[in-house]
């Protein structure tokens, strides 16, 4: 609630205190609390580093950066922020695409200083939440172990991933990364350090909680023996056939990993992983097409549309770049990919990265998977010349409370189906309005087909009530307010702040 005490005149307008710059006395208090050489930065070079996120569409400049190295640092920061009504934006890998980890004023709380594996008993690993998945893999590999399921982007941190989900190519069997956590250390928005585990309500709220209910500082994750993966791809001329084949082999549990990846809708590839030698790759009941047929169809299609021949050049260039990169001998051993995340992550950034990244995605039921893909492709074609679609399946474990208001819809299905729609800009620049129009059109497809969204940040907020209904959103917002009375933690990501109502 606004009072005279927390209002300030800024540019001639009344602004709530929470949006003003951090007062100098607060900076002084933070300095007194922290070693300024390491933990608190207010110099421009340190702040400029955090000016944008992976999407590079939203920009901001925090007043200060707290570089937390322990849960106590996080707790101190949150207590002070709660007292002074200072917004705190958490940041790990900084790979959000809608500005969720970009601070426009307030404190940017960088958690990457917490990057140690603390203990490992062979079945679980107790890690600090600022570890990137690359660091987790590096620490586990000498023990002959690997994480179970993590994002294909090795730069993501453990804490950020558990807050949003984390999808791997093996998620059809193991579920999302958030489902690999069995215990957490969390700092509440009011600065209490708590340890919670399976069965605790707070544990369920923090997982897939989009950073709204607390800051994860440590996590106990399931781990498993490290295995190499043989990877094959099968081409299709029709997206529906590919998706249906993926659903069939996932439901029959025939493969260790799989995903569908397209270039426009011209080349549709079902990528399948088997954790074992290529010679033992399982026979799969697939209805894929011969490569020659796929390329002949492409040739025929573009022969009838010679004004679009440039697209053939694009397809050929991508094919010639991607396949050798996927099977780079440096990462192969006996024909098997040694480090799938390293290979895929570097592929993603080299061939999908760019100065602007927009990846609207839908989480959809099995019944509407194909329809969502087809309608999404139509949206892509209306907005961009080149695009790619990445479709995966994610195993669900019953209807856990953590799935509420998340990308895992509450349906009886054993899996949820996810689709990312990524424009490939190929050097072209587009306005924010154009990107916004594209995202809205994709989200409208999800709304129409009863899906959910993987990302909630920024512009997604208007869709949350339409997707989940007022009752659920109000219930979660009430939980947020109870835990975070000053509404300081990662505000504006999911819920409207109090002064906006």
């Amino acid at each position: 609630m606004l009072t005279e005490r927390n209002k300030v005149v800024w540019n001639g307008r009344q602004r709530p205190l929470i949006e003003r710059q951090i007062a100098s006395f607060t900076i002084r208090r933070l300095r007194a609390q922290y070693n300024p050489a390491v933990l608190l930065r207010t110099d421009r070079a340190s702040r400029a580093c955090y000016r944008t996120d992976g999407g590079q569409i939203v920009y901001g400049f925090p007043d200060s950066v707290v570089h937390a190295q322990s849960a106590t640092d996080v707790a101190e920061t949150l207590r002070m922020a709660q007292r002074e009504h200072i917004p705190v934006t958490c940041r790990g890998g900084g790979l959000t695409t809608e500005g969720e980890s970009v601070a426009n004023r307030g404190i940017l709380l960088d958690l990457k200083g917490m990057q140690r594996l603390l203990e490992c008993d062979g079945e679980t690993a107790w890690v600090e939440a600022g570890m990137t998945w690359h660091q987790v893999a590096e620490a586990l590999r000498p023990r002959g172990l690997d994480y179970t399921s993590a994002p294909l982007n090795m730069l993501s941190t453990v804490g950020g991933t558990l807050g949003v989900g984390g999808i791997d190519v093996n998620s059809p069997r193991h579920g999302c990364a958030a489902d690999q956590a069995v215990e957490l250390e969390v700092v509440t928005p009011t600065g209490e350090i708590v340890r919670v585990g399976e069965g605790d309500d707070y544990f369920e709220r923090v997982l897939l909680g989009y950073g709204q209910f607390g800051v994860i500082t440590k996590a106990r994750l399931k781990v498993r023996p490290y295995r190499r993966m043989a990877v094959r791809h099968f081409l299709y001329t029709d997206i529906g056939t590919a998706l249906n084949d993926m659903m069939r082999i996932v439901e029959a549990d025939l493969v260790d990993a799989c995903a569908v990846l397209t270039l426009r809708d011209d080349v549709v590839a079902l990528i399948v992983g088997h954790e074992g030698p290529l010679a033992a790759f399982p026979a799969l009941p697939l209805r894929n097409n011969a490569e020659t047929l796929v390329y002949a169809r492409i040739a025929a299609r573009y022969a009838m549309r010679p004004w679009r021949l440039g697209e053939v050049g694009f397809l050929m260039r991508r094919k010639n770049e991607l396949l050798p990169a996927l099977l780079d001998p440096m990462f192969l051993d006996d024909g098997m990919v040694c480090d799938r995340t390293v290979v895929f992550s570097r592929l993603i950034w080299r061939y999908w990265g760019g100065p602007q990244i927009v990846i609207p995605d839908l989480a959809i039921t099995r019944a509407n998977f194909e329809a969502a893909a087809r309608r999404g492709i139509d949206v892509c074609k209306r907005h961009f010349r080149y695009f790619t679609l990445y479709a995966v399946m994610i195993r669900k474990f019953g209807n856990r409370p953590r799935y509420e208001l998340s990308a895992i819809p509450a349906t009886p299905d054993a899996h949820v189906c996810g689709i990312e729609f990524s424009p490939l800009l190929e050097g072209a620049r587009y306005s924010r309005d154009h990107f916004q129009s594209f995202k809205n059109a994709i989200y409208d497809v999800g709304l129409d087909l009863g899906g959910s969204f993987y990302r909630f940040g920024g512009v997604m907020k208007p869709y949350i009530r339409r997707m989940f209904g007022d009752e659920m959103v109000d219930r979660h917002r009430a939980m947020k307010l109870a835990l975070d009375p000053a509404f300081i933690l990662n505000r504006d990501v999911v819920f409207d702040p109090p002064e906006a109502r």
């Binding site: 070079a45 340190s46 580093c49 000498p142 080299r350």
Partner: protein
């Protein structure tokens, strides 16, 4: 700065994965991504002294960058801006072309006992040249500190990777990897591959060091990206003592998961660092000559 492509940085952060400054601090602004984002925000060299001096020139960021940003070149340029240096190359204090082997200041001044074994190795492979006793400083530290431009002189063999900043020459460690049968390399041991060479000349150097790893099953400082992790020992900071990172902590991090009692390397500064901080027997590669 217009010729420097920091504007191409897309902020993916792959560069931080093996950045020694990041490994030590976990602090983004000290990495290539941090510097590039600061430059994209219009900051000048004088506002970025700490990030500029955090770089140890290991070359990890250049090798992994999907946008092919020339991060090392950017740092060198910023250091020259800080030092306000005119773009004049500093040639080595003695003529390098006349000599076949440059052992470098670190070996000459801090580990001269290695010189006989280096000469013996070169003789065994048919390169029987002697290290010049009066060899002067090649000026690579000044180049790396931004106090002068590189001269790119020619020499036959260079024993210290940092001298490759000044010379076009073969590197002793690479020659050693090409003649593994000459060495007594009984496992288990930990091999510290010279990060400058592996990361900056990856296509040529990595397969040689990988072959060593596969043949002997030794632990190494190669990460999952097949790039070399480093200590700051062989950098201008480590060698001059200014702005230095915590070398002891880096040595401990690198050896954290290795049970090998013996460390072998072909990087002279790292040889001294491991000797000082690892608590394990440490050998320069030519000391393993059969």
């Amino acid at each position: 700065m217009s010729e420097l492509n920091f504007g191409d940085c897309i902020g993916c952060g792959l560069c931080i994965l093996g950045c020694p400054a990041y490994e030590e601090t976990g602090f983004d602004p000290l990495t290539a991504r941090g510097r590039n984002k600061a430059l994209q925000s219009g900051l000048t060299a004088s506002e970025m002294t700490e990030p500029i001096w955090a770089c140890t020139m290991c070359g990890y960021c250049d090798a992994i960058c999907p946008s092919e940003v020339h991060n090392v070149e950017i740092v060198l340029h910023l250091r020259r801006e800080l030092a306000a240096v005119a773009a004049a190359p500093q040639t080595p204090s003695s003529s390098p072309a006349a000599r076949d082997i440059v052992v470098g200041c670190t070996i000459r001044e801090r580990a001269p006992h290695l010189i006989p074994s280096i000469e013996a190795f070169l003789a065994r492979i048919g390169r029987p040249f002697k290290a010049a006793v009066a060899e002067g400083c090649c000026g690579s530290l000044d180049v790396e500190a931004g106090r002068s431009m590189p001269s790119r002189a020619r020499a036959g063999v260079v024993a210290d990777p940092i001298c490759l900043e000044q010379y076009d020459a073969e590197f002793l460690g690479i020659l050693a990897m090409q003649h593994l049968d000459l060495f007594d390399l009984r496992p288990p041991f930990y091999y510290f591959a010279p990060h400058r060479v592996v990361n900056r000349d990856h296509a040529r150097a990595y397969p040689l060091y990988d072959r060593l790893r596969r043949r002997f099953g030794c632990d190494m400082n190669l990460d999952l990206n097949r790039l070399a992790r480093s200590t700051a020992a062989g950098s201008v900071q480590g060698l001059s003592g200014e702005h230095s990172r915590d070398i002891r902590a880096a040595v401990e991090r690198l050896l954290a998961h290795s049970r090998a009692e013996r460390v072998i390397t072909c990087s002279p500064a790292d040889y001294l660092a491991f000797k000082a901080w690892s608590g394990r027997e440490t050998l320069f590669i030519t000391e393993c000559l059969r």
